[in-house]
Amino acid sequence: MNLVRAELERLAARRFVQLMVVLLAFAFAVTAATTLAGSHKPSASELNSARQQATEARQSMETAFQECVARRDGAQPTEDGGSFLPDDCSQIDPVLQDRLPIAADFLPGVFSFAQQARPLLFFLIAFLVLFGFLVGASYIGADLNSGGVVNLLLWRPRRLTVLATKLGTLLGTVLVLALLASVAYLATFWVIGQTAGLAGQLSGEFWRELGAVHGRGLVLVLLATAVGFAIATLGRHTSAALGALAAYVVVWELGARLVLEIVDAPQSDLFMLTSHVGAWLNGEARFYDEQICRGGDIGFNCQGFYTLSWLPSLLVLLGITGGLTAAAFAVFRRRDLI
């Protein structure tokens, strides 16, 4: 417990951590301020007109679908020829669409929390993932280099305990920070939506989905933190983690992806960590691979898509993080600390 308190104090005193927190607050303030400045509460007439436009849009979709069905069933095309209509009417079936036009779509300059919350949350999660990775790496990297770890080991000559305490304190702190930051962030934009934008329809369903993305995002932040910590421990340096990240992106995500495409490797997206990150965050991810349709009699409807669902992606991410962390502990247990 004392060790945890000491680690917390060290972590809080790190310049880099402070800098990243300031940066987070700054990015947050800028986003909130520009949103606030660019949004206004819609007047009753604006709202009415938007609602009307949305209704019209939905009606014209319905009309188009009806025409399409009618043409398919052999009726005569209407005067303008119906040339915009697809062969497969289900493509424009309003019932099958992901979403239908709503009033918010016709309110330029009005912030709608219901529509913007998800992308805003994704942005925050991306920032926190980077934050966790960098803080995790620099925290142990700087300590290994400055002799802080050696000093500590002279007091507590139990290496695994010392390293585990560091990792635990780090993960706890990052989690609390990420939670506080994201709650403050969402709350601020919610308030902006309520007071200077479109309050929108915030159903239980909406909150459940947002909460799920939030929870999955936090898991991702913790995984990134542990990975940064583990690589920096293995390489004895903060820069080891940065280098590994840069090398991974360039060599694998860009280079190997290109090579895999050239050699026509099947479902090559499955080898990319970014695919798994996306699948985990969104619940699933769809990728295109034309080879799926080459296998003969799959039929005309083959669209060449395959889906990656969150569970295997989570397992991949956990496996990599766990493997790196276990390796870091195993190496640290035996290493010469100079």
């Binding site: 000491a6 060290r10 802080g148 000093n151 080991l153 002279l154 007091w155 139990r158 100079i338």
Partner: protein, 333 residues
């Protein structure tokens, strides 16, 4: 007397891609008993720091047996770590913290009452500078802070690796006084140094290391006595004649400018009698006691006029005669 530190046959080889294999410690032995102020003496690169690191579990020994306060190290070191205060090679501290905060963190991590921090700062003379940032400290002040961190635990055993590094002469004296007063309260001290004067002034026992091996060890005065050739410096009016007279009396006398160096006399009165009987009156008769410096230079193979490279020191006694002079145990093979 019980052994506080025991090291037997410690070996440590470093492997690096660029330099290949380097044997840093090569079958080294060390015995420090309770209450000693034990000097650990050796030239740069002889393996002192590596030995202390291995003892404290920071590097992994290839082979050898070690124990600290009766517990095998590094396996059971955690049991006694609370009683061992150590600094190994000028420790570095986090520059943004004040000295006080640095120590408070360590105290907290080690379960020492925080009130100890002020006492430790006071002991090393940093009481009034404790609330300055460590990065604003001078080298000597950092060294003092390091010693304070070792004293924080109120240790039974204090291990200091080259504590005089970076200290000014006054600081060196204070450090010496501090070690003396700690020793007086019963703390066992192991202090490494390449500065001989220091060891001779404060230590009662010494172990000399060269190229990773022990070349001498024992009480300081006994180590010195082992190298005493019973030489005397003699000043007389006519050194030439005196030399002849002494030769005739079966003593060896070498004229050295205005003076004579006489060896082979068990007792200086023999010299003054031989010369006095012939009417040559002795103006000065000084025993030429070896100091640790000359013993050290002899043992570690350094020669004052040739620039010695850190690695080329020889093991003149141990290697050539294949014997280690250990005055506590006699001469072992």
């Amino acid at each position: 007397m019980s052994a506080v530190i025991e090291i037997e046959g410690l070996r440590k080889t470093f492997h690096s891609m660029r330099n290949g294999r380097r044997v840093a410690v090569d079958g080294f032995d060390l015995l420090v008993e309770e209450g000693q102020v034990h000097g650990f003496l050796g030239p740069n690169g002889s393996g002192k720091t590596t030995t202390l690191r291995a003892l404290l579990g920071l590097v992994r020994a290839d082979s050898g047996r070690m124990s600290v306060l009766g517990q095998p190290s590094p396996e059971l070191l955690p049991r006694v770590a609370g009683q061992v205060g150590a600094i190994v090679e000028s420790p570095q501290f986090f520059g943004n913290f004040t000295g006080y905060r640095t120590l408070r963190l360590l105290a907290r991590a080690g379960g020492v009452p925080v009130s100890r921090v002020d006492e430790a700062l006071d002991l090393v003379g940093l009481r009034d500078r404790g609330d300055e940032r460590v990065k604003a400290y001078s080298l000597g002040m950092k060294q003092r802070l390091a010693v304070a961190s070792a004293l924080l635990k109120d240790p039974r055993l204090l291990i200091l690796d080259e504590p005089a590094n970076g200290l000014d002469p006054a600081g060196i004296r204070e450090m010496r006084d501090l070690m003396r007063s700690l020793a007086a309260t019963g703390v066992t001290v192991l202090v490494s140094s390449h500065i001989l004067g220091e060891i001779q002034l404060i230590c009662d026992h010494v172990t000399i290391i060269s190229q990773g091996r022990r070349v001498a060890s024992g009480r300081v005065d006994e180590v010195l006595a082992g190298y005493d050739r019973h030489e005397f410096l003699v000043r007389v009016a006519d050194p030439q004649r005196a030399a002849e007279l002494l030769d005739a009396a079966e003593l060896t006398a070498v004229v050295d400018g205005e003076a004579l160096v006489v060896s082979g006399a068990s007792d200086p009165t023999v010299i003054s009698r031989v010369l006095g009987e012939q009417g040559l009156w002795v103006g000065e008769l000084t025993p030429l006691r070896p100091d640790l410096e000359s013993v050290f230079l002899e043992l570690t193979g350094a020669h004052p006029s040739v620039p010695r490279q850190v690695d080329d020191s020889a093991l003149p006694y141990a290697a050539q005669g294949d014997a280690v002079i250990d005055l506590d145990r006699g001469v072992d093979a």
